[in-house]
């Protein structure tokens, strides 16, 4: 094959790739843009047929309405829901990172009796579908008196093994020389962990943190089960129930969807480079 022919084929492949990616990006962005536009329309424009895309007149009333109480509709404590979501997701992420990283460090670096055995025992739990534990976990949470409280959302996710597994893989790739140097300098095991292992694993920790945060933020079934009162709900569940009970004003619901997605989208845009980086590092794809 001549170099010229190869180059021609290469460009053709690239063009097809761009076209395909452009189509996918269009399909992803089109509904999103439409919803954002609708959230800035008056109620009568939202229902206008044929469908319009440019808000005229442009209004932010729907966003203001999110925070104003109206006797004509069920209560929408969106600021409280936002607070609940942030509090729960932040607590879960902090606790999971702490608990899984310490356990992963023990598994990766210490030669204690039962290391292998415990690792496989814990690991086998990843094969147990969450349905089997769903009802008993609810009964335990109920016995603790945690129904309709933050505790019910914060503590049970800590039992997940994925974080330990993921971080142990990552810790094993760190050369031991760093730790040995720190030990010779008189560092305690906790010191080694805090000052050597954790800083060297920041990208893995960030990745696990993002996935944990998103999973907690978006959790639906469990949150629906353990929460009863309106003001304890997270954004995900609160908005869904509000949407189901209250159809007559679409604008405010779409404003709610945009408003609640914004923080997550911004955090994602800031951290997106870290995600793909550490997926490569952790060998999630290869091996």
């Amino acid at each position: 094959m001549s170099a010229r022919r190869w180059r021609r084929r290469f460009t053709r492949g690239t063009i097809v790739s761009y076209l395909f990616l452009g189509l996918l990006a269009f399909l992803v962005l089109f509904p999103v843009i439409w919803i954002v536009a609708q959230s800035m329309m008056t109620e009568s424009q939202i229902y206008r047929w044929p469908i319009t895309f440019v808000p005229a007149p442009l209004t932010f009333d729907n966003y203001v309405d999110l925070f104003v109480k109206r006797p004509s509709r069920p209560e929408l404590p969106i600021a409280r829901w936002l607070f609940n979501s942030i509090l729960v997701a932040t607590s879960v992420t902090t606790l999971i990172l702490t608990v899984t990283s310490t356990a992963a460090y023990a598994f990766a670096r210490f030669d204690f009796p039962g290391n292998k055995f415990l690792f496989y025992c814990f690991g086998a739990s990843m094969l147990i579908p969450s349905q089997i534990t769903l009802i008993p976990t609810f009964l335990i949470v109920r016995a603790f008196g945690w129904v309709d409280s933050y505790h019910a959302l914060i503590w049970p996710p800590l039992a997940g093994f994925f974080g330990v597994f993921f971080l142990r893989q990552f810790f094993s790739t760190i050369p031991r020389d760093f730790e040995d140097a720190a030990i010779i300098d008189g560092c305690s095991p906790l010191g080694v962990f805090r000052h050597v292992i954790l800083p060297l694993s920041s990208s893995a920790l960030v990745t696990l943190g993002i996935f944990t945060y998103l999973a907690s933020w978006n959790d639906f079934v469990w949150t629906l089960i353990v929460l009863n009162s309106n003001e304890m709900r997270t954004l995900t569940v609160g908005l869904t129930i509000f949407n189901g009970e209250y159809w007559s004003e679409q604008g405010i619901i779409m404003a709610g969807a945009v408003f609640t997605s914004l923080p997550v989208v911004i955090v994602f845009l800031i951290l997106q480079k870290r995600i793909s980086e550490s997926m490569l590092l952790a060998g999630l794809g290869g091996r």
């Binding site: 790739s17 608990v99 739990s125 349905q131 089997i132 008993p136 969807a257 794809g285 091996r287």
Partner: protein, 308 residues
């Protein structure tokens, strides 16, 4: 050579340490393990054992009765047509969505690898839906695929009759599946992309020298080396979509009739609307065993592929 020396000297130091204080590192390790172990016992092991026990019991939360009934729950389930209906819904949805996500994600990853300029932009855009919550997906697609929604607007513009995506018993599952692919394909795309970058360029060079065309390159180099990524994607996709709940809960309430009534919704309603905890636990156990069997089957099929 030098790294060899390093390794042996650090091993020496460790061995020396261990001889001096043998029990210290062991206690330290257990201390590091303790918090996770407590969480594991309380929220994984005990619930697991309780769940198994519960599935052999008649436990009515409201009446407070707890009786051991042997395999009676399971016997009832086998005659329960709604169980099989909802099981079929979940399985059909899981297979469609798993296949759709894997195909779109693989194509997207191959295209992304071909593209240098703008790769970050596309990667970010394609991943964007993944971070949206189920409530937002429900709101967006409630507007997009409803009878007077965005999609039907264009269908009628083109002169076709409007399609009732969610009101038609044969269309409702494929429609929900399509929504879910839109929502989720970005994640497997990243997994495939990471796997593609881990394939050494030299393999492609060698195959090209042997005269392989682009189809042959894909078939004999890329695909075999993507096997583990493919396995990972298929297993995780199947597990997560077999457990579908939010999309039908928000968009269809399981309807029309029971056409989109998934197993988790049945379990959820049995346990938390009618408080038949034992019966729900037995259904959950059966579902869990079924998923385990499918995953082992997937692992076997993809794991035993002949080495190249």
């Amino acid at each position: 050579m030098q790294t060899q020396d390093h390794l042996s000297s650090s091993a020496l130091i460790r061995r020396h340490d261990r001889r001096k204080i043998r029990w210290r590192p062991i206690l330290t390790a257990y201390a590091f393990l303790l918090p996770y172990t407590v969480a594991f016992l309380v929220f994984q092991l005990i619930p697991f054992l309780t769940g198994i026990a519960l599935s052999f019991a008649r436990w009515e939360l409201l009446e407070g009765t707890q009786d051991f009934v042997g395999v009676q729950n399971f016997a009832e389930i086998f005659g329960d047509s709604l169980f099989w209906q909802s099981f079929a819904v979940s399985f059909y949805f899981a297979v469609l969505t798993m296949a759709g996500n894997a195909i779109v994600a693989l194509a997207a990853a191959l295209a992304l690898k071909n593209v240098l300029r703008g790769q970050t932009f596309f990667r970010v855009v394609l991943y964007l839906p993944v971070i949206l919550s189920i409530s937002v997906i429900g709101i967006v697609f409630g507007r997009v695929i409803s009878n007077d929604g965005l999609l039907n607007y264009y269908i009628t513009q083109l002169g076709f009759p409007a399609i009732s995506f969610l009101g038609n018993a044969t269309l409702v599952i494929p429609s929900l599946s399509l929504v879910t692919v839109w929502w989720g394909f970005g994640f497997p795309t990243l997994i495939f992309l990471a796997a593609l970058y881990s394939i050494p360029e030299s393999l492609y060079e060698a195959a090209k020298l042997d005269g392989a065309g682009s189809i042959a390159l894909f078939r004999y180099v890329t695909l075999p080396l993507l096997r583990y990524a493919l396995l990972l994607v298929l297993v995780t996709q199947f597990i997560s979509h077999m457990q579908v709940f939010g999309q039908p809960y928000i968009l269809t309430k399981g309807g029309p009739g029971y056409a989109s009534y998934p197993l988790i919704m049945y379990i959820y309603q049995t346990a938390w609307r009618y408080y038949h905890m034992g019966y729900a636990a037995a259904m959950a156990a059966l579902m869990g065993i079924f998923m385990l069997v499918v995953v082992l089957f997937q692992t076997r099929i993809l794991g035993q592929r002949v080495e190249f």
